[in-house]
Assembly symmetry: C2
Homo-oligomer: 344 residues x 2
């Protein structure tokens, strides 16, 4: 089959790789019908050192089950399924606590002999735990929105959960990428009264407004902090969703969090140390978040998509086939595309 392999910064190729076959009795083979490129794929696209073996890419996909191992009982041939961005058994203690990203048997797509999602098919380990059946056909118009259950919608929701958004909250969202915009959607869904979106790409913040942002803050750094403070009577926001991952964004997050409030970090941190001193302490600011246990949220969020209450698929503004994947990376990296859908 054909799949996407990254060999170094800027070097993404679509090439022949071995067809997936069942290895474990808990495996399933899934023919991919929709996939996409993640903002987090851009970190290696910018910085990966050359690697002659390459790295299989993609961790968000929907597909049709083609074959199942002897110990797979919850999904079967022909099912249309969505996968969370890490596979898991959904039975261990961590999964039961809703922390599927720390599953004792789970792991990441594209590593350790497991296929990536940006290809024609994957072998899904732990199929019963990982794959969630969608009650629609593979070509349903809701596919873009349902695909966000793989990652970005659940990641935005995780920021909402960990930053403790509740009915009536004032929320600030840092970052107008797909995760930030899904964070806006998730915050509105959780009953936030006021949602301040920090971003400076007009077409993206416009979508943010359509998703529920009540205010847009286009400044950066100290000026952004001052503007948010002004908009919140000097106090800052109860909940701040940090959807970027740069230390500057984290600094801004601290600067706009109300005393007693929380920062939910869902942008993968591109730093090892960060401010955590007396200001944070005196103001009782909680720093939470992390890699989103998407599997824990899929069933909760799916009805809102199926019943038309939210339309997160609007974050996709470019579609490519497998041949177009390298162009897709380029477009996202140059910010010509917000998020790229792949139809293999």
């Amino acid at each position: 089959m054909r799949a996407t392999v990254m060999y170094g910064a800027g070097d993404v190729r679509v090439e022949q790789v071995p067809d997936p076959v069942l290895i474990e009795p808990t495996d399933a083979i899934v023919r991919i019908t929709r996939s996409c490129i993640c903002g987090s794929d851009l970190w290696p696209y910018k910085h990966m050192k050359p690697d002659p073996h390459g790295r299989r890419m993609g961790h968000e996909f929907i597909g049709v089950v083609e074959e199942t191992g002897s110990d797979v009982h919850r999904v079967s041939r022909g099912d249309v399924v969505v996968a969370p961005f890490m596979y898991c058994d959904n039975t261990c203690d961590f999964c039961k606590e809703g922390l599927h990203t720390s599953c004792r048997r789970g792991g990441a797509w594209g590593m350790d002999g497991v296929d990536g999602g940006q290809g024609e098919a994957v072998r899904s380990p732990l199929a019963d735990g990982t794959l969630v059946t969608l009650p629609v056909a593979a070509d349903d118009p809701l596919m873009p929105s349902l695909l966000t259950l793989s990652d970005v919608l659940c990641t935005g929701h995780h920021a909402v959960v960990t930053s403790r958004v509740e009915k009536g909250s004032t929320v600030a969202v840092i970052g107008d990428g797909a995760v930030g915009l899904c964070g806006v959607l998730a915050a509105r869904r959780a009953g936030a009264e006021r949602i301040l979106l920090l971003g400076h790409h007009r077409e993206r913040t416009d979508l943010g407004r359509a998703f529920g942002a009540t205010d847009v803050v286009v400044e950066r750094g100290d000026e952004a902090v001052a503007h948010v403070r002004e908009l919140t009577g000097g106090d800052g926001a109860h909940s701040v969703l940090e959807c970027v991952g740069l230390v500057e964004a984290y600094r801004t997050a601290l600067g706009i969090t109300r005393p007693g409030g929380a920062v939910g970090r869902v942008g993968v941190p591109q730093y090892e140390t960060a401010p955590l001193g007396r200001d944070v302490f005196r103001n009782n600011i909680t720093v939470s978040g992390g890699v989103a246990p998407a599997r824990a949220y899929i069933e909760e969020l799916m009805p809102d998509i199926l019943e038309g209450r939210i339309e997160p698929g609007r974050v996709f503004d470019m579609t490519v086939d497998l041949d177009g994947v390298p162009q897709g990376y380029r477009a996202m990296n140059e910010r010509r595309a917000l998020k790229v859908l792949i139809t293999p």
Copy 2:
């Protein structure tokens, strides 16, 4: 009257200062009957730059109300009261949310013309909001335990709340000072099943065991992390109470927190930046805590003392009068005393 003034590192004096008088109608004058020295007083005792004006010390006290302003209605002359370590109005939005340390009109003892607790008397601003009446006489044998409501017991409890200890939790407590030991007590009170105390002063960890610690870890740094991991099946503790404030203690806290768990920091951080990178993110570790809103907890914790269920006053192992305060500082700083009670 006489009160304690610090003029620089190691330079603590007890000297004549002006008698407190009512200034605002919301003030009360409180004659102090019990006070104490806090672990946090040792930071300036070690590092304060010489200051010819000096700094009034003490933020934990019990006393008898002597005089009240015209707008004080909840406490009256003769009441025995305990004060939280910051004063507050108990009516603003932050106080209503339980974050009295961010009170819109509140502040700290010993600053801005407000007396410190290590003296004969104080003017208490916002007396109705700040002072909590004790239903016992000023010389009741429970006084040492009731005095911990000013700070250390509430601070340990705040670590328990912010690190999300619940029934059945595995908890690790870093630090065998008075706050750490009160953290053990508060964790047991909250239903923790297993309480690992990290400390290496035998007489203190023995008291920790009496307070409910099930295991004592005497190692430091990486060895402490390895030992806690071994004791917890490799996973670490759900909740970690960081009761020291040094970056090394915070590092240890991260190393022993179970994925999805939380660190409650209540030791005043002696650092500005700290590790907060990919390990924290991948494991969804929450960093919470801060300066404890003692006022929020006093009424909740007091019955456990009055009814004899907990005896946090056991942290006091030395008693001095006002003249003995400089010796008390020295003894605590040299770790000859765990916590020093002052009977003015």
